[in-house]
């Protein structure tokens, strides 16, 4: 094998390379540091590595798309995915910084795993090859299985990790099987070649639809499409909240990005066949997610079902299957990163305060606006944004996706989408109602306020996210352009 191939276009993977090197540095630093000292500097180092990753992405921004060894491509779409994932990563690490000491966990392994997950997620967006896609999927999945069980003292956390791992492994096998069938159909693992073979009428077309169906199980599990969503509430509730915040956004961005590229570059000629089943899944996902979220009393579980519903909205973009739809989906995920991580950050700030270890009940929030006006205001912004009320970021995410879908002729799907969005307003509003319109029960509140740990990090993340949600909402044009679609 020619060694020149190894280095040719390697710059396309610069952000991943930077992060991988960073993870190694981080692990060595963790071993070298003295016992218990410098735990907080680990977070700083992780952030520095992630920022380097953002720098590397910006460095290769605007270059012509380059493909590395028929496995990964660095185009506008991949860069946008990286940006979303890296932002989620930075926010996630910032949230963990104060959370880890609170649950008495050491940080080295935690941050390394988080960075590894980021690498896997970024690779998902670049993969142009079924094998790379699968490896990327496994890199971030394995990291997340461990991370969700990191709160070892909490039985819920262990249960979450176990469930996530077992079901996830099961879903992965479906995924591999599907990938194998596609390989059989197209005679190659490389997307472009598969497309070439199939559109030339060669290969084995009868294997395509079974292959898509099996791959769909794997993807559907990762982004929690109904009916593959059962794990979502348990894992979201049980996992340490910073992990939930990070993975709710990162996993969705990564898996959707991988799915988009696969469907739109390897199988565009089959769009007429896969679009309708996906549309039905989108309807199911939105409806079941929203209706179940209505019945939740735990805020984390409510957000878990809401994330199911959001997966449904994003799936509408994939059904549309156009270049503008793919950029709309990324823009949606970009806004989702801020509003969802922000909402979880507020939960982190509140969960200690209401005397709950790892969750917040809606009734706990009663009257909290009088005690923490800033946090409550931020939470209100996130809730209203999640329900898609203008002029907040979430509205424009939905707007762009719906617009792309109408342009592609899926008006009926958009009708179901907006109706779902109206339904969802009810449960998001309930949080706002609890915080602002209800009175706290008497007693015990002052004590808990005093017992507050130093929680500057959640507050910083909350501020950043709230400002981002408002700014993106007021000036959406700039950010929409930042999110490039496939082939744009």
């Amino acid at each position: 094998m020619d060694t020149a191939l190894l280095t040719e276009n390697a710059v396309a993977l610069l952000p991943e390379i930077v992060l991988s090197a960073g993870v190694m540095v981080l692990m060595i630093f963790d071993i070298l540091r003295r016992e218990q000292n410098g735990a907080s500097s680990l977070a700083g180092l992780s952030i520095a590595i992630l920022l380097l990753g953002i720098g590397a992405s910006l460095f290769i921004w605007g270059r012509p798309p380059a493909e590395y060894m028929e496995g990964a491509v660095s185009d506008g779409f991949a860069l946008s995915v990286r940006l979303v994932v890296l932002i989620a990563g930075v926010l996630g690490v910032l949230l963990s910084r104060n959370y880890l000491p609170a649950i008495e966990r050491q940080g080295g392994a935690f941050y390394s795993l988080q960075l590894l997950a980021v690498i896997g997620m970024m690779l998902m967006g670049t993969a142009t090859n079924l094998i790379v896609l699968f490896i990327a999927l496994e890199i971030f999945s394995l990291a997340l299985y461990i991370l969700s069980g990191f709160y070892r003292e909490s039985p819920r956390s262990i249960e979450a990790a176990m469930k996530y791992f077992l079901l996830g492994a099961f879903a992965s096998t479906f995924f591999v099987y599907g990938a194998a069938l596609l390989y059989g159909a197209g005679g190659s693992a490389h997307y472009a070649r598969i497309h070439e073979t199939l559109s030339a009428g060669a290969g084995n077309p009868s294997l395509v639809m079974p292959g898509i169906a099996l791959l769909l199980v794997g993807f559907g599990f990762k982004v929690s499409l109904v009916p593959f969503h059962m794990w979502t509430p348990d894992v979201y509730q049980g996992a340490p909240t910073p992990v939930t915040a990070f993975m709710s956004v990162g996993t969705k961005a990564a898996a959707f990005a991988g799915f988009f590229r696969l469907m739109m570059t390897a199988l565009p000629s089959y769009q007429s066949q896969w679009a309708l089943p996906l549309a039905i899944l989108a309807v199911l996902t939105m409806t079941v997610g929203n209706l179940t979220a209505l019945r939740q009393s735990s805020v984390k579980r409510m957000l878990a079902y809401s994330s199911v519903a959001h997966a449904g909205y994003i799936l509408i973009a994939l059904v549309a299957g156009t270049a503008s739809a793919s950029s709309a989906a990324l823009f949606y995920l970009f806004t989702y990163a801020f509003m969802n991580v922000g909402a979880f950050a507020v939960i982190i700030a509140f969960e200690k305060r209401v005397g709950n270890e790892n969750d917040v009940e809606q009734s706990d929030l009663a009257g909290i606006a009088d005690r923490s006006p800033a946090l409550a205001a931020a939470m209100a912004v996130f809730m209203l944004s999640l329900s898609g009320i203008p002029p907040l970021a979430g509205f424009f995410g939905k707007f762009m996706v719906f617009k792309a879908a109408v342009e592609a002729g899926w008006a009926w799907l958009v009708v179901i989408g907006v109706l779902n969005s109206a339904v969802s307003a009810y449960y998001y509003l309930r949080v706002v109602v609890a915080m602002y319109f209800q009175q706290a029960e008497e007693g015990g509140e002052a004590k808990e306020l005093d017992a507050l740990p130093d929680s500057r990090s959640p507050h910083f993340v909350v501020t950043v996210a709230a400002v981002a949600v408002v700014v993106i909402g007021l000036q959406p044009g700039l950010w929409v352009d930042l999110m490039r679609g496939l082939g744009q």
Binding site: F399, A411, A422, P476, G477
Partner: protein
């Protein structure tokens, strides 16, 4: 200029939130609303009596999606803008006197709402309009939910969800219009014209959103709850301005964009409007709570405005615009007076009062004038608006005009009934005696006086307003060329027919 007008209150809201003391907040909020009013008055000197949009501003907002920041004002929106900017300082002044709890938040929400409402009246891009439209829900829901009376949370949620759900389909319709026309620009879409099939569907989606906002019978059920529970200033703004968003939506969007669909559905909507007029009036007659009475009277009065709009001729529509302003002034004043009474006695039941003329004559004088204005006494503003509307309605359908007139009579009945119960009769309840119940103070008179003066001004010289309204109304396609509308969209195959098929277009002389 329009941007300054729109966003000045929002700047005020931020400043109010940051201000250190409550008394400073009061002055800042009042100052911001007065400043906005002054800016809006500046529209008048440079006004041209032409149908086109004036003071237009247009910048790119989301170039990728072809969305513009596009503001403009014409004869239809001019007076509604002025109504908003006039009612706001009055509502703020009232709140400054009476709101104790969390004053900064209250005033900031009021100011945010002013921005949202002005944005709706001025936006000429469908997306921009939708953004302001939806945004107006948030401050109002918070005002009701946080500062309202006993059942406020229920009322706030009902108000929010009802209106939110109503406008969901409007978003789809907006996207469908974009898909067809390639632009979100109202004027460009109007120019291009839309195929009748799309008009039918899009009109239904828009009409649902507007009908809920107006509220048109049978979509009115949120209104009594919201009104009764809302704090006084919230009710003033809700009745005075927010309800107008619905009728304004019909005028600005439904009529120009969907002329064919509008003429198809005109009879149906007119019937609903008449049902609303009669139903609202009869229910108002049965109320014991003064605030509910005013709330149901709003249902009836708004029905009048819709009736005028869907007469689809110049008199009807001009009268509707005029009546929107009148209703804002009269009902705003009514809610204000109910609030003043409530702050003194903490009851709104009419049976707790009676004979107040003996103890609070100044209050009762104002109450009489306001009630008469609302009832449409000649010489006052309400008469001019209702008369013009009925004139227009008679032209398109005499039958509807007769039914509408019955509503005028009922309005006089329930308003006089209220006045008799509150002000006349024998002063029996000791709590209402002169030493217990103070009369209006100068601040309160100051809040009412501008409104009362305008009752007379509009009542005696309505042409000052109508001269500016008429050119824009006359330019509407449904008014100007009713026959051409039908020819231009020659495909009539998809038109539904109704039992009430009294097509107004055929009766225009």
């Amino acid at each position: 200029m329009l941007s300054v007008l729109t966003f000045l209150p929002l700047v005020g809201a931020v400043v109010v939130l940051l201000a250190p003391s409550d008394s400073l907040k009061r002055w800042l909020a009042f100052g911001a609303t007065v400043a906005t009013f002054v800016v809006s008055l500046l529209l008048l000197p440079g006004w041209q009596e032409i149908p086109d949009m004036q003071f237009v501003e247009r910048y790119e907002w989301m170039p990728g999606a072809n969305i513009h920041y596009h503001l403009g004002v014409d004869g239809i929106s001019l007076w509604l803008v002025l109504l908003t900017t006039l009612l706001m300082p009055i509502a703020v002044a009232f709140s400054n006197q009476h709101v104790k709890q969390n004053l900064g938040g209250y005033l900031a929400l009021m100011l945010m709402m002013e921005t949202a409402v002005l944005g709706v009246f001025l936006a000429l891009d469908l997306v921009l309009f939708y953004v302001f439209w939806e945004f107006s829900l948030i401050p109002m829901a918070f005002l009701i939910g946080k500062w309202g009376s006993e059942n406020r949370v229920y009322a706030a949620i009902k108000f929010f969800l009802y209106t939110l759900a109503g406008s969901a389909l409007m978003l789809v319709a907006i996207l469908a219009l974009y898909f067809h026309g390639g632009t979100f620009d109202l004027l460009a879409l109007q120019e291009a014209g839309l195929p009748p099939g799309l008009q039918q569907l899009a009109f239904l989606a828009f009409a649902l959103a507007f009908a809920i906002k107006v509220p048109l019978f049978p979509f009115h059920t949120w209104l009594p709850d919201a009104h009764v529970e809302a704090p006084t200033a919230g009710s003033v703004i809700l009745a005075g301005v927010l309800l107008k968003l619905g009728t304004y939506g019909f005028l600005r969007f439904a009529l120009p964009l969907f002329p064919v669909a509008v003429s198809n559905y005109a009879s149906l909507i007119s019937v609903l409007a008449i049902v609303g007029i009669l139903y609202g009036a009869l229910v108002a007659l049965a109320q014991r709570d003064l605030k509910s009475l005013v709330a149901y009277s709003s249902v009836a009065h708004m029905g009048f405005i819709v009736l005028g709009i869907f007469a689809l001729n110049e008199q009807g529509i001009s009268g509707a615009v005029l009546q929107m302003v009148n209703h804002g002034l009269s009902t705003g004043a009514l809610f204000l007076m109910v609030g003043m009474l409530y702050e003194r006695r903490h009851t709104r039941l009419m049976e707790d009062y009676g004979g107040l003329w003996a103890s609070v004559p100044v209050f009762c004088f104002f109450f009489l004038v306001v009630a008469m204005s609302s009832a449409g006494l000649p010489g006052l503003n309400g008469f001019v608006g209702e008369f013009t509307i009925l004139l227009g309605t008679y032209k398109s359908s005499p039958f509807f005009a007769v039914l509408g007139t019955a509503g005028v009579i009922l309005a006089a009945w329930y308003l006089l009934h209220a006045f008799r119960q509150v002000a006349q009769g024998k002063l029996t309840n000791p709590a209402n005696f002169k030493d217990k119940l103070p009369d209006l103070n100068w601040g309160e008179i100051g809040q009412l006086l501008p409104l009362v003066v305008l009752f007379f001004v509009i009542g005696l010289a309505p042409n000052f307003l109508l001269d500016k309204i008429n050119p824009s109304v006359a330019a509407l396609e449904v008014v100007q060329r009713p026959v051409v509308v039908e020819e231009r969209y020659a495909d009539h195959s998809s038109q539904p027919t109704f039992i009430f098929d009294i097509n107004p277009l055929t009766t225009v002389d």
